[in-house]
Structure formats: C-alpha cells, structure tokens
Amino acid sequence: TSANPYPWASGAEAWEPLSPELLGPARFALDAYNRGRAAGTRAGLGAVRGRVRRASRGSLYSLEATLEESACKDPMVCQLPVSKKTLFCIFEVLEELGKHTLLRRDCGPVDTKVTDLRNETFNSVLPLSSKDPLPEEFSMKMISIFKNFVATYNRTYESKKEAQWRLSVFTRNMVLAQRIQALDHGTAQYGVTKFSDLTEEEFRTIYLNPLLREEPGKKMHLAKAVRDP
C-alpha cells in the first residue's frame, strides 16, 4: 500500500468510533483473536475505533480496540470471582471482494495502573474520541505547539486546507505519542519530533523499509563466536 499523497483532500482517513461499517472487520478481528480458545475464556470487545482506506479492489481497516478477557483460563480451578484482564490491540483487516484477511494483530495487556494513569492524562489534557468536540483550551494549546513545530522544522504547506489537515494529524499524533509513552517500560520520552505532522501510513511509506518484513533476505553463514583474549 502506498500513502495517499493528498490525504487532507479526501478526508477518508479520520479515526471514527465504532460504526456499522467497522463492525464487520472488528468482529472478524475478534473472531480471529478468539480462534482456538475454549468457551468461557474468549475475549469480548471493549472500546473500538478505526479508520478505513479504500482502494479499487477492497478496503483496509485499521482498528484500535480494547478486549476484555477473563483472567482465569480454567473455570474448574478458579472458584472465586475472577477479575477481567484488559488488552489493547491494533488490528489491520483487509476486505477484498467481501472476504476478510487479518494483516496485523498486535495485542498487549494494559496494566490497570497504567490505564488509570493514561486515562487521567488523556482526560485532563487530551480528549480521546475524535467525535468529541475539542475543549477550547486544548485546541489553543495544540495550535500553539503546532506553530512552534512549524517554525522549528521549517515546514511549509501548499494551502490553508493542507495546514488545517496537518494540524489535525499533529493533534492525533500527540494523543498517540502519549499513549506510546504510557505503554513504554523504559525511560524513553515520546512527543514532538520532525515527523509529527505525518500520518502513520505516510511515515511508514516514506521512511521505513517494508521489504524487511515481507521477504527473507539472502542467507548468510553464521559468524564464529568471539573468544576472550
């Protein structure tokens, strides 16, 4: 897949809360996740949001979902009421001629402590749902950070429309960076970088190397281990 060079012109890539259109791919992703799991241990869908990119032969759905699953794998052993485990998942589902294919499934447990902290951060600073109107204070703050970004990295945009689009991408990216921050176990800091006005697809297409995940490279022979001199 290649990035749409003028995404601000189509507006087709906005993240949306679960809509009837996203329901099918979300259910398919959930079924794929639950495949092989015994009844009673299957996960259920929590919050879902997603976006769709359409091509001539099909559509690519990118979904972010929370899944709730029972922390108890064996109901015969777990007598006490068991708590639920929350997972955060990223799915990519390709729909071609009515057939779904799961291209990506990245799921990880969301630590309750982390979730609470993250929600607190998001609720106080960043509204999560793209449908919620942005609080005025937040919008002003984002515009100010975006202006700084534009000046720092010497960005120029072709039109006001593109600048507006880039601001919305930048804002979404700031939310995403906070999420990545909350889910990082190390000491790394995530935030504004020179790539902050690019969509994930643009960034992947322009700067990364998709071949590495698609094909095996030429086989090389193994190096001999080094010895302590």
């Binding site: 955060f88 990223i90 990506r104 990245d106 799921c107 990880g108 447990p109 990295y153 990216n173 995403l176 960076a177 990545i180 889910l183 990082d184 176990h185 190390g186 000491t187 790394a188 800091q189 995530y190 935030g191 504004v192 970088t193 020179k194 790539f195 902050s196 690019l198 994930e200 960034f203 992947r204 297409t205 322009i206 700067y207 990364l208 190397n209 998709p210 071949l211 590495l212 995940r213 094909e215 490279g217 030429k218 086989k219 090389m220 022979h221 193994l222 190096a223 281990a225 080094v226 001199p229």
Partner: protein, 214 residues
C-alpha cells in the same frame, strides 16, 4: 562482554547521516558497518557511499527498501564502495555510476550474528559496530531515553527499519543498545536511538549481521 562499550569514543563511527524522504535505511546500516570494519582492520575511518548501493545494487529496491544481506553481496560483486565525497547521496535512485577505480574499500564476506544479545555484545566489543534491523514502533515520536515498548506492540515479526548498533551500556541500571539511525541529528539523541538490551526488544537481535574485511 565488557560491561559497556562505545565505538564512537574509539573513532570507528562517522557522523550521523540523513536518508531524507527515502526508505534507504538498509544502505546506511550497511555502509556504517563497513565503515567500522574498515576502520578496525585498516585503521582509517572513511565515510562511504549509500548512493552507490541505491543505484547499483540491483537485488534491492533503492528507496523502496532493501536487505543488508543483499547489499553485502552487491558490494562484493561490484568490487567495493566509493566514498561519500566521490559518490554523494541524492536520496533517490539514479543510473549506476560506480567506478572500480574510485572504490576505496572492499569486503571479503558477510556473516549473520547470534540472536543471543550477550553474545552480540561480546561480538560488538571485539569486532565492531553491527548492522541490525528492528520493528520501528514508536520511533516516529521518539525523543530521548531508553525505549522499551510492550512486546506485543513491537513484535519481532514486524521488522521494518535497519540501523547500526555502535555500543551498549547501562543508564541507571537500565541496559541499553546505542543505535545509530539515519534520520539526521535533529531526531532522537543527536540522531541516536537507545533501546532496551537483553529482552529482544523490537526484534533487535533477529537480523544482526556484519561484513568481513580480511
């Protein structure tokens, strides 16, 4: 392996370069490795040409991506690498303009390295910087510090970016790899990415390799 190691302090690493709007990380990862191997075996640090690989390595796909393993073969079959000054970076593919007369370095072979991070550290300390490829999850927004993304978010099976490991150590008891990137010095820590060491974070141990200079 020693507790820490940094080839930058020993003069084996050239300045951070910038691949610009081109998926040529594989070429930068390989030239960085060959620069280190040449320095360690011949004592001279030369900045080598990625553009030569973009234009002349027909097994790879220039700005659309490539493999370090293919690039080593291309360098071998072409007859070496020219320097950055002689064959400068353009950020897009052009006709191959390699001249064997201008080649300043050669390689004899290439090897795949262990997936054990302790053994990788030992190899690095003795032999030089290592070409690696990782899952670049989160790097779009990375500023500084030691990245350690949740494993399911940074799966070793979704490798999509090649870089160069130049050292390792610990910061406040957190073990890290120091990794040279090719996105310019205005990204990360002066162009470097620090990634957790010892947990297979983002698949850093999956595709480690090096050229061999005799």
């Amino acid at each position: 392996a020693p507790l820490e190691w940094d080839w930058r302090k020993k003069g084996a690493v050239t300045e951070v370069k910038n691949q610009r709007m081109c998926g040529s990380c594989w070429a930068f990862s390989v030239t960085g490795n060959v620069e280190g191997q040449w320095f360690l075996n011949r004592g001279t640090l030369l900045s080598l040409s990625e553009q030569e690989l973009l234009d002349c390595d027909k097994m790879d796909k220039a700005c659309m991506g490539g493999f370090p393993s293919n690039a080593y073969l291309a360098i071998k079959s072409l007859g070496g690498l020219e320097t950055e000054d002689d064959y400068s970076y353009q950020g897009h593919m052009k006709a191959c303009n390699f001249s064997a007369k201008k080649a300043k370095v050669y390689i004899n072979d290439s090897v795949e390295l262990s997936k054990n991070e302790q053994k990788l550290a030992a190899w690095l300390a003795v032999k030089g910087p290592i070409s690696v490829a990782i899952n670049a999850f989160g790097m779009q927004f990375y500023r500084h510090g030691i990245a350690h993304p949740l494993r399911p978010l940074c799966s070793p099976w979704f490798i999509d970016h090649a870089m160069l490991v130049v050292g390792y150590g610990n910061r406040s008891n957190v073990p890290f790899w120091a990794i040279k990137n090719s996105w310019g010095t205005d990204w990360g820590e002066e162009g470097y990415y620090y990634l957790h060491r010892g947990s297979g974070a983002c698949g850093v141990n999956i595709m480690a390799s090096s050229a061999v200079v005799d």
